[in-house]
């Protein structure tokens, strides 16, 4: 197990290197706008733009820029400074992380609390009207894009913009340290918006897994023992059916911790996702690099955690 973790860790570092290199290459090959021009502002003289370019190191070939970047990253865990406003990318990301974590964790709780029970109920009564209604609804929720659901939520329920003013709308986010109640109220719509598609997907996964599991021979054995049906489903059925769901949940949380770009943008939540979105609009390479690496790190890390967790959940799995 220990050797396995070390090996996975080395692979993760290699993977992050590749990701950062690719980001650099893509930025160099497809320049969307000249960062120096953007930074110089309106009516800038060519001399000023040239000076900025030298200051940012943009006049050097891209492999030298990349080498410098890597050195900073490896030696000081330094993600560089924004082309746009010279802020440290690392501290910018860390200051936005609490908002992203708030959004992700809350949405995760919502989608698990909705998705699993819906999936279980559907699996116990397959092909009934209830099952078809729930799965039909799930299909709609999976198909609708997050920005559509987000805008719909704002239009229907948000203070100021909604038909009914039930919840705080876009731009109302405050850190939990400032006011837990406002923090909670401001995140209700984003949580449900982000959770909608996940809840639907998890409901369908849970239903499918549980129906498959209930056809297994060991379920027949559990019944043959004389076990109560609620235990047959709740213990023997779910134990097997939910194991892959746990794995998937770990991966999805990792993915979202890198920034839920659409939800954060629609609800104007100052999280990592919105920072990434702004970085792209401003052609701010260090910020783009930082957020991409950051997201990649969470995905790789979540993968590792899930793999280790799986060895505990499924006794048949061993790592050599």
């Amino acid at each position: 197990m220990g050797a396995y973790i070390v090996r996975r860790f080395l692979w993760a570092i290699l993977l992050l290197l590749v990701v950062s290199f690719l980001t650099f290459v893509i930025f160099d090959v497809f320049p969307s706008a000249d960062p120096a021009v953007l930074r110089a502002g309106r009516n800038a003289t060519p001399a000023l733009i040239h000076q900025i370019r030298i200051n940012l190191g943009l006049n050097k070939p891209f492999y030298i820029q990349y080498w410098r970047y890597l050195k900073g990253l490896a030696l000081h865990f330094d993600l560089g400074y924004s082309y746009y406003n010279s802020e440290s990318v690392r501290s910018e990301i860390f200051s936005r992380l609490p908002a992203t974590i708030s959004l992700t964790v809350g949405a995760f709780i919502v989608w698990m609390l909705i998705g699993l029970p819906v999936g279980i109920v559907s699996a116990i009564r397959p092909r009934t009207l209830l099952d078809r209604t729930l799965m039909g609804g799930a299909l709609v929720a999976i198909s609708a894009p997050v920005y559509f659901i987000g805008l719909l939520a704002l239009f229907l329920f948000a203070n100021g913009t909604g038909l009914v003013n039930w919840f705080d709308g876009a731009g109302s986010y405050v850190p939990i340290s400032q006011s837990p109640a406002t923090w909670f109220g401001s995140l209700i719509l984003p949580w449900f918006t982000l959770a909608a598609a996940f809840a639907a997907f998890y409901a369908r996964m849970t239903r499918g897994n549980l129906i498959d599991t209930m056809g297994e021979d060991y379920i027949r054995t559990a019944r043959a023992k004389g076990l109560r049906e609620s235990l047959v489903i709740g213990k023997h059925g779910l134990r097997a059916a939910l194991t892959p769901i746990v794995t998937m949940a770990g991966m999805d949380v990792g993915l979202l911790l890198g920034g839920a770009i659409l939800t954060e943008t629609v609800f104007n939540i100052p999280g990592v996702g919105r920072y990434a979105y702004e970085a792209i609009t401003n052609s701010d390479l260090p910020a783009i690099q930082g957020t991409v690496l950051f997201g990649a790190f969470f995905i790789v890390f979540a993968n590792l955690v899930v793999d280790i967790l799986y060895a505990f959940l499924d006794p048949r799995v061993t790592y050599g």
């Binding site: 021979d217 060991y218 054995t221 043959a224 023992k225 004389g226 134990r239 499924d314 006794p315 048949r316």
Partner: protein
């Protein structure tokens, strides 16, 4: 009085393709301490019959009619809660593939402890002690350590022993073994059968052994029922059946047993054709499409299960004399059948 009496049992399932009549009018009885073998090909309804006894076919929504009398009560009309008290405690069951029949995520000890505690209100440590005792009684070495093993850490034979330990931990009156050796290595098969035999003799458990192997029946059973397309075609005490089988289907089964002592020229002759669809059962005698001796009435009416000699029931249109003659000529053609 018989311990278990099945009377005119019908079981059918609704599927997308139509109604599957898996069991169509089966009557069987099992006395205490006896072993009843139910023999037949896949799809003959033998497993469905067995699973219906303990109510397992209720879960896929089978339509069940007839009576199964056990201990003075009818298991078919019994409500789910009462049936659950009997299932596992008084009638236990083991299945074909012990790997898929044990839960992969739970330790084997826990799975047996659970079986005990479902029916008996005993503390965990008592259940554990009894589990280890049960594991020892089925010949599992160092049962204290094996208690904490997962199914995938054991061999196929050991897993089936675990299943048997689980089934017998509560000393049931009846053990139903549904093809208990089919998924096992040949070398292990004999051990498992001997174990079932030994436990039956020690505990006085009656056994229903479901198999497609007449060789196993010859070794283990007191009584035999041959099933085909959801019906019993022939039924007799073992000696009577092997002395003078009277149904062409039974002859076919006997001819398809490989024998080392048979001369090389005497090839295996499998029964021609395949088992009928249980959605569209053949008219008349269900076996007639595969029967080499079909008498004319077999095409129209189904023969009743009739007593050919005391204790020997046969469902065939041929006359008893004709069947005896055919069997004798078969034996002279194939010395291995003698």
């Amino acid at each position: 009085m018989a311990l278990l009496e099945i009377d005119d049992l019908h079981v059918s399932f609704k599927t997308m393709d139509g109604v599957v009549r898996a069991v169509a009018g089966v009557s069987l009885s099992l006395d205490a301490r006896r072993t009843l073998g139910i023999v037949g090909e896949s799809g003959s309804g033998k497993s469905v019959t067995a699973q219906t006894i303990v109510g397992l076919t209720r879960f896929p929504n089978a339509k069940i009619s007839g009576r199964i009398m056990f201990d003075g009560r009818d298991l078919v009309s019994m409500d789910a809660d009462h049936l659950r008290d009997i299932r596992g405690a008084r009638i236990a069951m083991i299945f074909q593939d012990p790997l898929s029949s044990l839960h992969p995520f739970f330790k084997v000890g826990h799975q047996i402890v659970e079986a005990i505690r479902v029916h008996e209100d005993v503390p965990r440590d008592v259940a554990k002690r009894r589990t280890i005792e049960a594991l020892r009684s089925v010949g599992i070495p160092s049962p204290e350590e094996r208690f904490d093993s997962f199914p995938h850490e054991m061999s196929g034979g050991m897993r089936q022993r675990v299943m048997i330990a689980m089934a017998l931990a509560l000393r049931p009156d009846i053990l139903i073994a549904d093809e208990p050796t089919t998924a096992l290595d040949v070398t292990v098969q004999a051990q498992v059968l001997e174990l079932i035999q030994a436990l039956r003799d020690d505990f006085g458990t009656a056994v229903i052994l479901i198999t497609h192997d007449l060789g196993v029946v010859a070794q283990m059973c007191d009584d035999v029922a041959v099933m085909y397309a959801g019906r019993v075609l022939e039924q007799a005490p073992r000696e009577v059946l092997f002395d003078g089988p009277q149904h062409p289907y039974t002859w076919g089964l006997l001819q398809s047993i490989p024998r080392l002592d048979a001369p090389r020229s005497d090839r295996l002759s499998p029964i021609a054709g395949s088992p009928p669809s249980l959605i569209n059962v053949p008219r008349g005698c269900t076996f007639h499409p595969r029967c080499p001796y079909t008498p004319p009435p077999a095409l129209e009416t189904e023969p009743p299960l009739e007593e050919a000699e005391p204790g020997h029931l046969v469902r065939c249109h041929l006359s008893v004399e004709e069947r005896r003659r055919l069997w004798q000529s078969l034996q002279s053609e194939h010395p291995a059948l003698r």
